[in-house]
Symmetry: C2
Subunit: 418 residues, 2 copies
């Protein structure tokens, strides 16, 4: 069988399985996820052995220590994956929910019912835990899933997928509902992206290169998350203690993630006081500050920023800082450089808080809270399948509901159109 | 300026204008649409003159009478466009609606606010009224719009867009919010589909060829509607009078539209009675029936169907008819041949009605009503921008709300993440 036929076959099997999965009752899906969790824990030895092969290959290929660490599976991480599946089992099932129903003058009742999307393709890099996390979310929401992980984790991913597929079969469900692309041939991705007749959505998870490749080559709709260039704007009226606490949390608590702050904007009327203060405290915490000329003049720790600093996603203890003359200027700066991820205003001014909320068109807009809250779990959506920074279908952190769509349902008693 | 630069420039202007449009208060948008309606009526002479140039070119090119009729603008059709804009002005504005708000244990309040998508591209064929209809819906929902009509209507479209743009300017709004691609060069479409940095959504409206071209060449998300192969299933327990009325309406009332019935499925237990009856009555109404061998044996008017009849979108007085042995067989047939548009069951059996509603994954599923109701206006959504038969973002008839997305808003009082 050619690679082309193989990928098409796998997509068709997933599509066929998705029709069955769409009808599986909630308790059966929950029991499935719990069995999968138990089976992963029971397979620790096998999983660690397969993972060791990936780690060895990774060392031979000269992967960095950080990469090898992301790749590593040990008992505690496997228990973590299992706990993730059990948590998803606890979440409410979105499928079948009727989100509204109304009566038309002719007496027909029109409503909208939530249904699974169908088949979801996940294309991801290195971390093998995504195999279990993504499978859990897709199956719980009644979808089939096609997984394509990175080649460096192929043995781990095959082993995890194998364990999960056995549980599908054991529950009398089609194991085609969980497909792992078993080859590391890159051409398989290109083929996968052509299966628009069978796959309903592609979610790429990884670096910007992967995401651009997927979105430029896919005939299937893609939900993208390029990067997080999160801004915090400290308004003239801000409570400076609160602003300091929020800035420290947003920059330092976990700098390597997409909801960390990358640019700090400070209102000119607050600059004399707040710039030296925040420069000192962040400097003490090891943050390198790069600022506009006004901020540099106010605090010697701040190095001059260059144009590339505005819009940079450092994912590190580096922060761009800029003084702005007004809320308008802050909004204009954010609109120019934002990645549509998360923006924060710290203010005591009611009209300014409302204007910021309304006028900023990023996926998450916050008043007086740390951008680090921008996360499906923190928002109460449960586990998250990703964060969308494009506006179609979903915008912002995506939970189970975002893996569904709504169909119209109509109850009549013989009505015909005039 | 090259075509490439020209299209990019136009997309950037639309993007810039969209940021202003997103903030325009509802009463101003409504007043704008009403002025546009008045201006179209006031420009009847100009519009009819420009349309005459298109009609003349169309005749020279040998367009069919049906095509020329679709292209034609007269005073009554222009008043129709104006009325359409006035109706959209009356619809509720979806922008700014907070669709939910909840409190997290740490005290932050998380909600979701409806915002415009940004810039919407509409690529359409022949009917010049789409220029006004699409512009009205996009502007009312706070978006900017880029319109690309068919070359055969270029003078009409330019004239209509010119009238509408003048009204934007007269209200002090950016006339870049309504862009018409003024060239008939087909390469302009390809360029438009590359503007993913500025355009948020493409909606193609036209034949299957246009839609395939757009979806295969677009880097921008596309909402597609390929075709409508609507099924009606007459169950064993159906009220045959009701079934007859529904079938006649679904097939005959307006056969050339996508929500007309194309295939009729009849339960074997109803076939002896219902097949001869419906064959006779539809035959008298001029419908050509093409059936499976069982139906042919029951009614001499029915010609044998070939495989291509299942799944055919006739858009004409032709109907495929098939006997099925069970609800399961009906559902399997529909899943195999459906275009995910609209499917109807006629039944008196409660469990069957519920199974059909749940298991059919088309965008509209009806019990005991004509498929001809599958329409935004009939469902009470107001005017419709199109019908989506793909599941992402929207599924089924699309109204104003489908031209928006939701961002997360967060109200805190200084919370930071542990």
């Amino acid at each position: 069988m050619t690679l082309q036929d193989e990928i098409k076959q796998l997509a068709i099997e997933a599509r066929d399985a998705s029709r069955i999965m769409a009808q599986v009752p909630t308790p059966v899906k929950n029991a499935l996820l719990r069995s999968m969790a138990d089976a992963l824990v029971a397979a620790v030895t096998e999983l660690v052995e397969e993972n060791a092969r990936d780690l060895e290959n990774g060392r031979d290929k000269g992967l960095s220590d950080a990469m090898l660490d992301r790749l590593r599976l040990d008992e505690s991480r496997i228990r973590g994956m299992a706990d993730g599946l059990r948590e998803v089992a606890e979440l409410p099932d979105p499928v079948g929910e009727v989100t509204g129903m109304w009566r038309r003058p002719n007496g027909i009742q029109v409503g909208r019912m939530r249904i699974p999307l169908g088949v979801i393709g996940i294309i991801y890099e290195s971390r093998p835990n995504v195999t279990a996390d993504a499978a859990g979310l897709c199956l719980k929401s009644g979808n089939a899933v096609v997984l394509r992980g990175g080649s460096e984790a192929i043995h781990s991913n095959r082993a995890i997928a194998g364990v999960l597929k056995r549980e599908l079969a054991a529950k009398g469900l089609p194991d085609g509902a969980l497909q792992l692309v078993g080859t590391t041939d890159r051409a398989a991705v290109t083929e996968l992206l052509k299966q628009e007749d069978y796959i309903d959505l592609i979610i790429p998870r990884g670096g910007e290169g992967l995401i651009r490749f997927v979105s430029e080559n896919s005939r299937i709709p893609v939900i993208k998350h390029y990067k997080g260039v999160c801004h915090t704007f400290v308004d003239a009226s801000a409570d400076f203690d609160m602003a300091e606490k929020i800035c420290i949390n947003a920059k330092v608590q976990r700098p390597g993630v997409c909801n960390a702050m990358e640019t700090l904007l400070i209102h000119r009327d607050a600059a004399d006081t707040f710039v030296p203060r925040i420069a000192r405290v962040l400097g003490e915490l090891g943050v390198e500050l790069r600022g506009c000329s006004e901020t540099c003049a106010l605090a010697p720790e701040i190095k001059p920023a260059v144009e590339a600093d505005w819009g940079a996603e450092y994912l590190d203890l580096i922060l761009a800082v800029k003084v702005v003359g007004s809320l308008d200027e802050a909004i204009a700066h954010i609109q120019q450089y934002s990645s549509l991820h998360t923006e924060v205003i710290v203010t005591r001014d009611y009209p300014n808080s409302q204007r910021f909320l309304r006028e900023i068109n990023s996926s998450v807009v916050m008043v007086n809270a740390s951008s680090r809250f921008s996360d499906g779990q923190q928002f109460g959506l449960g586990a998250e399948i990703g964060i969308s920074t494009t506006k179609l279908h979903s915008f912002g952190p995506m939970g189970l509901e975002d893996l569904t769509t709504r169909k119209f349902i109509v109850f009549g008693d013989g009505q015909v159109r005039e």
